[in-house]
Assembly symmetry: C2
């Protein structure tokens, strides 16, 4: 953890940062957040993340006490005080100190920063198990990870790394990442509906061109069985191959060609983003 954490107006030593137990996050799990990386001191895809942060807050009727400009200034001050050019920053907005444990009050905003190194491409990939579940309010980045955390022992027991949700025959997402397949025709597809729309996912959809067709379209369980490659995307993981699902290898069980090439292209995009700011 970093030296300083912001709780509302205050920069607090990380070990001392606390909230009263009347906060609606503790009472009712009520709140939203967003998370992004910094690389070489640059706030990665910050416009997309702040768009989503303000969208999530509005969807949950949580007023943000700071303007976007004030929030950006606060983030830069935190960067300065903590001296961590390569990091992950999380902005959490809770339901606040509720008088009756049910009605939202003025939200508490908590901003944490932790050292985090942008990972290299991991060709070994990860193994998923599937689980039938549709996240509630999927398009909002809420605090709700009940199902994901409850499933952790099962994931471990199945010798897997993470969970892939599906519902009513459609593949959805991982708890903290979007999911993509590469079809036998080399089409790159990610689920369109009932998911949180990730920032890396958005960047990837913009990379669709004559060489790669990358688009959103609901993925059926049959599509999943037939796919040639699979990968997940997230702000911490970038593009990460999925090499097995429910114990069955995807393709030959190693990172596929399209996945590897897209990961390379995304790495270039990150380098450009950092250099051009």
């Amino acid at each position: 953890m970093s030296k300083y954490i912001i709780v509302n107006e205050d920069f607090l030593p990380a070990a001392a940062a606390s909230v009263l137990i009347t906060d609606l996050a503790i009472q009712r799990g009520y709140g939203i957040f967003d998370f992004f990386k910094t690389i070489d001191g640059q706030l990665m895809f910050i416009d997309d993340h702040l768009d989503r942060f303000f969208h999530s807050a509005a969807e949950m009727h949580l007023p943000v006490s700071k303007s976007r400009a004030e929030l950006e200034a606060l983030l830069l001050t935190l960067m300065d005080k903590n001296g961590l050019p390569d990091s992950g920053i999380r902005i959490t907005l809770t339901g606040g100190y509720s008088l009756d444990g049910y009605t939202p009050a003025a939200p508490n905003m908590i901003i944490t920063q932790a050292a985090f190194k942008n990972p290299d491409f991991n060709a070994e990939g990860i193994r998923l198990i599937t689980h039938e579940h549709q996240r509630q309010l999927a398009q909002v980045k809420t605090l709700d990870y009940l199902m994901a955390i409850r499933l952790q022992p099962l994931v471990k027991q199945q010798e897997a790394d993470d969970v892939l949700y599906h519902y009513n025959g459609t593949v959805k997402e991982c708890p903290r990442a979007n999911f993509f397949i590469v079809t036998q025709d080399n089409e790159v597809i990610t689920t369109a509906n009932g998911i949180l729309k990730g920032v890396v996912r958005k960047q990837l959809l913009k990379m669709s061109n004559s060489r790669f067709s990358i688009r959103e379209k609901d993925i059926s369980l049959e599509d999943l069985r037939q796919c040639k490659e699979a990968f997940i995307t997230s702000s911490t993981k970038n593009i990460l191959p999925v090499t097995a699902i429910d114990g069955q290898l995807v393709g030959d069980g190693t990172a596929g060609e399209v996945t590897t090439e897209l990961a390379e292209k995304f790495k270039e995009l990150i380098v450009q983003y950092v250099e051009l700011r």
Copy 2:
């Protein structure tokens, strides 16, 4: 709020009770709780509530550091220190101070007490609006009230008092109460599946006899339209008539005869419970 709150081993002044922001309740909304009344110093239906508390904890893989006897002793000490014979007590168990913001750690247990007077029967009742939603892990009393709290402005706008969830054509529950109908044949029915099984609901089902048939069976939306009376049950509200649903009166829009008689019988049950302990 009371004078003292318990956080793990400590009795803290209520205004000072806090948890670090690394708690998994704040990071991921992860935790469970239970809530019960005290009347004249008696812990109401405490066996049922502790059964459910330990069940919820086990379902979410959260170890409880105290035995049941230790927990009961702790509750009595809290009662003693706070001097509130008529109260509501809440025991919360969170995912603990997670090192990575995702993996559960040793849970934090928080016990709060607040003055609360057992309410008289409210013949005026309440108005509900319906909303299509199935609570995840419905049989576990988790911290997740995202949907309920998000819907509060809509409830107010519709001049109603609370929400009734239904899903796939079946009536479920209110966010903090079970739901019952009285059919045209004077059968009393409460939804069987996809709900949190409340303690007052359980007591009521035990009251089924030759005079009243009270049973659990899934209630369809058509059953809802046809019903003669409706009411909700909860530890804070006991039996409370529902007099309108989505702006349509239930029966003649006042507390029905069966509801009123059951409320009277439940009041007697409470008196007996308090006197016999």
